[in-house]
């Protein structure tokens, strides 16, 4: 899962990014509205954390531009101006949720998780695919109740596939959502990770759709 953090305060940006990375997300950082807008416009993010009071371009304008350009990723708005008129303005511009400053990073993480789940159509914090359970809150996965030992890359891969259960996900899409913008991307490595993950899961839930990518679905749904 790839997250964009747009916050002009360097320390707060770092804290948010570190916490998100710790929770298994891939994070890109932007420190002003223009940079944030550019990244959001050109990279596929699973969620954006966006401060409202930004230099160069304010957060409300950034969201409006994204939405006008057809970008639908969930946006969590950070606001120091916690008046309701500000919240209403943010939501009306297209934000999906807000957190008032000052906040605990855990709260932001919980909101981001919920936004990503909601965007993928899951209401519970636990996503289930046959015997496989993904606990988004604890960043853990298990098969038949036995916790899996996954590397961060494997976890991201599993998490993305489970969030998009039943959908065909291309290798490029997986690369884009598993690595940050500075990473030297190679879609061949994805095959390696998928192979490892299949082994660790022990059940064949990840189907290769020739020429298109991968699809994960519960055995009962499989053709």
């Amino acid at each position: 899962m790839r997250i964009l953090v747009v916050e002009d305060d360097v320390n707060l940006n770092r804290q948010l990014s570190d916490a998100l990375k710790e929770a298994g997300y891939v994070v890109d950082q932007a420190f002003d509205g223009e940079e944030g807008h550019y990244l959001g416009d050109n990279e596929p993010y699973d969620a954006v954390i966006l401060d409202i009071g930004l230099p160069a371009m304010d957060g409300i304008t950034v969201i409006e531009k994204w939405r006008a350009g057809g970008k639908g990723m969930p946006v969590l708005m950070l606001t120091a101006r916690d008046r309701w008129s500000d919240k209403v303005a943010g939501i009306d511009a297209g934000a999906d949720d807000y957190v008032a400053k000052p906040f605990h990073v855990e709260e932001v993480l919980a909101r981001v998780r919920a936004l990503i789940r909601r965007a993928a159509g899951h209401s519970s914090s636990e996503i289930v695919c046959g015997p496989v359970r993904l606990d988004t809150k604890a960043s853990k996965a298990s098969v038949d109740g036995v916790t899996l030992k996954l590397t961060s890359h494997e976890f991201r891969l599993l998490s993305y596939l489970m969030h998009h259960m039943g959908q065909v996900v291309s290798r490029t899409e997986l690369v884009e959502h598993m690595y940050d913008q500075d990473f030297d991307r190679d879609s061949n490595t994805i095959e390696v990770f998928v192979g490892r993950l299949r082994k660790k899961l022990g059940v064949d839930l990840i189907e290769t759709v020739r020429g298109l990518g991968y699809r994960m679905q519960a055995p009962t749904d499989a053709r």
């Binding site: 320390n11 009071g53 120091a80 101006r81 939501i91 400053k101």
Partner: protein, 473 residues
């Protein structure tokens, strides 16, 4: 800063103008009465003197020296007072020098006489006449006109005197003065009434300005409206300028409050989260201190906001659009929950700043959405019951409820929840200031805020907020 005027005399303008006008009228009337009565006295006395002189020459013309070398003749003065006794109206003819004749006098004098002052005491004038006051034998105060006339070629002469009773003049003057005083008193009272009416009429526009200002203060008008006379127009313009500058001040204060919030909240967020990385005791200390700072910032921001709101003069917010906006946001944030909104009558308005309505209902909605099972119910209806004390001047009231179908709160939990910064459920996000902000705003508008258990078993917030009267609407 308060500008003070030092004033002398009464504080009422009407009283001042009336006092000055009355003082001036009274002084003028006193002076006029003195001058007129003095002039009348002079004129009455001159007429009296002229009458006496005319009578004197009548007497002289009617007297000759007869063949018996006695004074002869009987003056016909056409005035009965010369023939009735002791009237003070006399004529007296007395021979002078060697002319030995019997003196003559009017029958009114009888056998008495009127004393003659020496020439030195009362000299003759250039017409060889002299006038002097005297008392007759009957106690009458009289004025005597006297002259001496040579009656024939032998040089025999006589002193002619005619007297008139001064009481006549005095009575005349007194009668005149009485009438004068009555006339002036009527005039004085009349001008007092006219002055009063003129002042009331003249000050009427001031009263109009006061009423216009009252409407502004009550939030029924944005500025002083109406046609004012030339003298008051600058004042009305200045007041309007003051209202406008006040509005701008409030606006600026709010903007600064927002800026302050932004500038303090980010560093506090950084501190709060950096504390996670420290060892346990230090981490707890920094975190608790940062939270205390956060609570202080929130508390002072809300106070500043309420203070700014107190200064604002005009407040009117249509209920339905504001609630619809808030509900739209809540639906977006909580797509799995239902929000039911009912406002009656449609078009109802609150006598509150929009921002305060948003803060109040928004915080309650946020709490309700956080704890509800399936949905939140919001209603606004005209309040039917009589309100708290001091309500006589107030307008109508609107009762608003925000109810959820969550677990609700026990009475002692409700008491706890109303305290500033209390969070009953640490597992749910939030700073815990929502309810105390709601309480502060409602009390600022003399409204009411209560938490109870609703009919659906969850928490129900009941608010009584000032509505806008029909006349103001």
């Amino acid at each position: 800063m308060r500008v003070r005027f030092r004033t002398i005399g009464p504080r009422s303008l009407t009283a001042r103008v009336l006092l000055l006008a009355t003082a001036w009228s009274a002084l003028a009337l006193v002076v006029i009465s003195i001058v007129i009565s003095q002039l009348y006295r002079q004129s009455a006395e001159r007429a009296f003197t002229d009458l006496l002189r005319a009578q004197l020459y009548n007497v002289i013309n009617s007297i000759t020296i007869g063949s018996d070398n006695q004074l002869s003749g009987s003056p016909q003065l056409g005035d009965l007072r010369f023939s009735q006794p002791e009237t003070g109206w006399y004529w007296i003819i007395e021979p002078l020098g060697t002319f030995a004749a019997r003196p003559l006098s009017s029958s009114s004098l009888g056998t008495s006489n009127v004393s003659v002052p020496s020439i030195l005491a009362v000299p003759f004038n250039n017409r060889y006449e002299r006038f002097y006051p005297a008392n007759d034998a009957f106690g009458n105060h009289v004025l005597v006109a006297e002259t001496e006339v040579v009656l024939d070629g032998e040089g025999r002469a006589a002193r002619f005197r005619v007297s008139g009773n001064l009481a006549v003049v005095e009575e005349d003057i007194q009668a005149f003065t009485r009438s004068l005083y009555i006339a002036l008193a009527v005039f004085g009272l009349g001008s007092l009434v006219v002055n009063g009416l003129a002042i009331l009429y003249g000050l009427q526009p001031l009263d109009g300005a006061r009423r216009a200002l009252e409407r502004v203060r009550r939030g029924e008008a944005e500025r002083l409206e109406g046609e004012f006379p030339r003298e008051i127009m600058p004042l009305a313009n200045d007041i309007n300028a003051l209202i406008e500058s006040n509005r701008r001040l409030v606006e600026r204060a709010r903007m600064q409050v927002g800026n302050l919030a932004h500038s303090l909240k980010t560093p506090i967020a950084v501190l709060l989260n950096e504390a996670r990385l420290l060892d346990k005791p230090q981490s707890e200390l920094v975190r608790s201190q940062a939270e205390a700072m956060q609570a202080q910032v929130q508390s002072y921001l809300s106070r500043a906001r309420i203070a700014a709101q107190r200064e604002s003069l005009l407040a009117r917010t249509d209920i339905e659009p504001v609630l619809e906006r808030l509900v739209r946001v809540m639906r977006r944030l909580n797509p799995d929950k239902e929000f039911h909104l009912s406002v009656s009558p449609p078009g109802a308005a609150l006598a509150m700043e929009q921002q305060d309505v948003e803060e109040t209902i928004g915080n309650l909605l946020e709490n309700a959405a956080r704890f509800c099972e399936t949905g939140v119910w919001i209603t606004a209806t005209p309040a039917s019951e009589p309100q708290q004390e001091g309500d006589a001047l107030r307008r109508t009231w609107v009762e608003m409820t925000v109810e959820d179908d969550g677990p609700g709160l026990e009475p002692d939990q409700i008491r706890e929840a109303m305290k500033r910064g209390t969070r009953l459920d640490e597992s749910k996000p939030g700073a815990g200031l929502g309810l105390s902000i709601v309480r502060e705003i409602t009390s600022e508008y003399q409204g009411m805020f209560k938490l109870t258990r609703g009919p659906r078993g969850g928490l129900m917030a009941r608010l009584l907020l000032p509505g806008v009267t029909k006349s103001a609407a």
